[in-house]
Symmetry: none
Subunit: 456 residues, 2 copies
């Protein structure tokens, strides 16, 4: 990259970091109604920074939920257009007692910045804005056309952006989308993520007796909503980690031999992964598949939360009338979310225990995706990434889901470059989430350099 | 019973009822700190009525919680001694909006007295006091020795009385205890409850990964504490309602053929029980046992509450690190709580899923109880009950636990006569609790007559 650009980015680092901290101080927790005003405040902050970076047509797009932010700079005729995506909302911070410092008071320690949203996704989203600012300040213009679409509902299902993208194909027209909301496989290993798992997220509500009953008076004859739900959920997955819902594996495409070989060459210490990342005594799941395949290319079932009956201090002998669980299936490319929902609903209907009614509500769904590594933007992105980090870029997949990537594919017919600058131990969605400060700076350089190269 | 006694009780009914109303107007809700003074006022009211009934050595026994009331009359040498137990505290009245009349303003309607505590247990406890008064006023003495021990913490666990009974074996020495805190099986069906189930109440805590993990990043390889707990609990009971914990049925004594036959003769409409009481589509449990046996003479396992992971509004894709459940086994007579705890702990150890640690904490335990129907007091109680109600007394059991009965058995080595005058629809612990006024009067007659007969 040009040395002027490099110097600007390095010189402005302290200010960039201060601005990011300001954004991190806004508790823009999109799922909690109490934080509605904070979410808006974060949106306004981001819009203002887009304007000061030189972006034009900056607007807050109002919908039923939290506002979308749009901006563009389209003065490079004949050059490609990149659609930059990010989100300014964050996960709830609970359990608060497990944080070493307050989640919304960013703290620098050992080269990291600790705060809810630091890596997911405020810090990474901000990289795009600062890359644009650097190019504009140094060159007075951008080397290609750029559009921004930033949302505030990523952590709650992204309903508004999905609708917007479905309707605004012309306005959002671009050659490729750029998303920085993932992590590198390892420190110093530039990584482009070419595969994502899909997701079907559901709530299961169990109803037993019409009211909580006394377990002395009715225990032995009355259905128990909590136990009924427990019985049902336990049947979904056997003790070998295999999902027992009929049809669930029908459309699973195995990775190619080449992809498998490349995964096997990745640095991976299973013991370290187990102890430092998972923090457990053993790994679980389908033991006849290697760990990468289980995480990236196999569907999974998880119970995210369960609640029902008496859970206060002490004892209360009720037979609970109601219980609910949040569950999801992760899907791999080629699986169809609607088919999975139908298969699960049929499974629940067939396996609901005696006397317990089950209601399934779909809270969100999206398919898995695989990006073609031969796309020109993908090739250039890999080159920019390799140059800034001085290491060969690897192509991996992710076990997570980024629904917007599916929306871009479906409605805009464009691939997405998942150029993530997070590190594996960032603790997304967990207490003590952090973002590495060096990654923040190199991220800005990489994105700016990608724009340079892709604009050539 | 003597006609003088009968006349006295009938003549004094209006006053007895007025006194009971006065007691019901005192909101002696033991669990609410705001009502502490009310609870004491109720204790003082009861103590005063014991004195005016002719009882001696009336004292309020102070402890950490609400006072116990003791009283005695011991001038019948060579005659048996009856220990009368009751409680003057009540459940909270909420939800207030479901009451048709204010819970602490007793209202007579259709032969019933509506108020919180009318049946549980002020009205029934007061029966004992008025029976003593009647005998004293009519005969100038009692036909046997009587002790009273009345508590104000029954609705909050009865900690004070349990300690007191454990220490005061000599002072409380008696031949039998009399408790009126249950109900008759049906109107006009005098009922003596001779069996109670025991209880082992535990908390199970599951720990999976060391922190909540993102299900995208780790789903397929990391253990899930909620799912692990679900898997474990589901194994405790099979889909036929049978408990799968080895040894759990070892010490279960089946009811005698005579007892079974007597249960089968009880009026019971399964459809009505299902629809009106349980409020469900079907009954559950061990279908090869009749309902009464399942409720009264079979051990059961229930999950009273479960909590873990994300249970707020919307979606959060965590793999939870922790989950807990409150569970219990109801025990039948002859089962040993300690053996059940050990059997469950061994089962948990053996069945804990891969990567999930389980911790079991015992929150409470007590054995089941069975009273010998051939005990002289029991025979006499049945006779008195039958004569006053002009119907044959039935012996039933209860699926619940009354800890004080276990304390009397363990520390005083005496059986307890559970002579309840409530009716099944009294609505204990619910809005619009009531006590039938006819039951109140017949209750006083029955207890007085029991004293007469047992003193002969």
């Amino acid at each position: 990259m040009s040395s002027a650009l490099n110097s600007y980015i390095e010189d402005q680092q302290p200010r960039f970091l201060d601005e990011l901290k300001e954004l991190l101080r806004i508790p823009s927790v999109s799922t909690l109604p109490d934080h509605r005003a904070d979410v808006r405040r974060a949106a306004e902050f981001v819009a203002e920074k887009l304007r000061s970076a030189g972006m034009e047509n900056v607007e807050l797009i109002e919908g039923a939920g939290h506002p979308l932010i749009y901006a563009d700079w389209l003065h490079a005729p004949g050059k490609p257009t990149v659609l930059c995506y990010g989100h300014y909302d964050v996960q709830p911070a609970d359990p608060l007692e497990l944080w070493n410092s307050p989640p919304f008071e960013p703290l620098e320690r050992d080269g990291n910045l600790y705060a809810r949203g630091s890596a997911d996704d405020k810090g990474q989203m901000y990289i795009h804005i600062k890359a644009v600012e650097a190019l504009m300040k140094v060159n007075g213009k951008l080397p290609l056309n750029v559009k921004f679409l930033i949302e505030g509902e990523e952590e709650v299902g992204g309903a508004s952006i999905a609708k917007y993208v479905a309707k605004q194909g012309a306005k959002l027209k671009a050659d490729v989308a750029l998303v920085s909301d993932t992590n590198m496989y390892a420190p110093n290993l530039p990584t482009l993520n070419i595969g994502l798992r899909g997701l079907v997220y559901m709530e299961v509500e169990a109803t037993g007796p019409s009211r909580d009953l006394h377990s002395g008076g009715y225990g032995g004859a009355a259905p128990n909503a909590v136990f009924g739900l427990v019985e049902l959920l336990a049947k979904v997955k056997n003790d070998r980690g295999e999902i027992e819902v009929p049809g669930i594996y029908d459309d699973v495409l195995p990775p190619t031999a080449e992809e498998r070989a490349s995964w096997e060459s990745l640095p991976f210490n299973e013991k370290e992964f187990l102890q430092k990342e998972v923090g457990s005594t053993e790994l679980t799941g389908e033991s006849n598949y290697p760990v990468f395949e289980r995480l990236w290319a196999r569907p999974t079932f998880e119970v995210h939360g369960i609640a029902g009956g008496f859970t206060g201090a002490g004892s209360k002998t009720v037979i609970p009338a109601k219980a609910t669980a949040k569950v999801s299936f992760r899907l791999v490319p080629n699986q169809v979310p609607e088919k999975i929902v139908a298969a699960f609903e049929a499974f629940v209907k067939k396996n609901a225990p005696r006397g317990v009614q089950m209601k399934v509500t779909v809270l969100g769904k999206g398919p898995g995706l695989l990006v073609d590594t031969n796309h020109p933007a993908m090739q250039v992105a890999a080159r920019a990434f390799s140059q800034i980090f001085s290491a060969r870029t690897v192509f991996t997949r992710s076990g997570g889901s980024i629904p917007i990537v599916g929306d871009f594919a479906e409605h805009l017919k464009i691939p997405t470059i998942l150029m993530g600058f997070g590190l594996p131990d960032d603790g997304l969605h967990s207490p003590n989430e952090k973002f590495n400060i060096g990654q923040f700076e190199k991220g800005i350089k990489t994105v700016a350099h990608f724009f340079e190269l892709y604009g050539e």
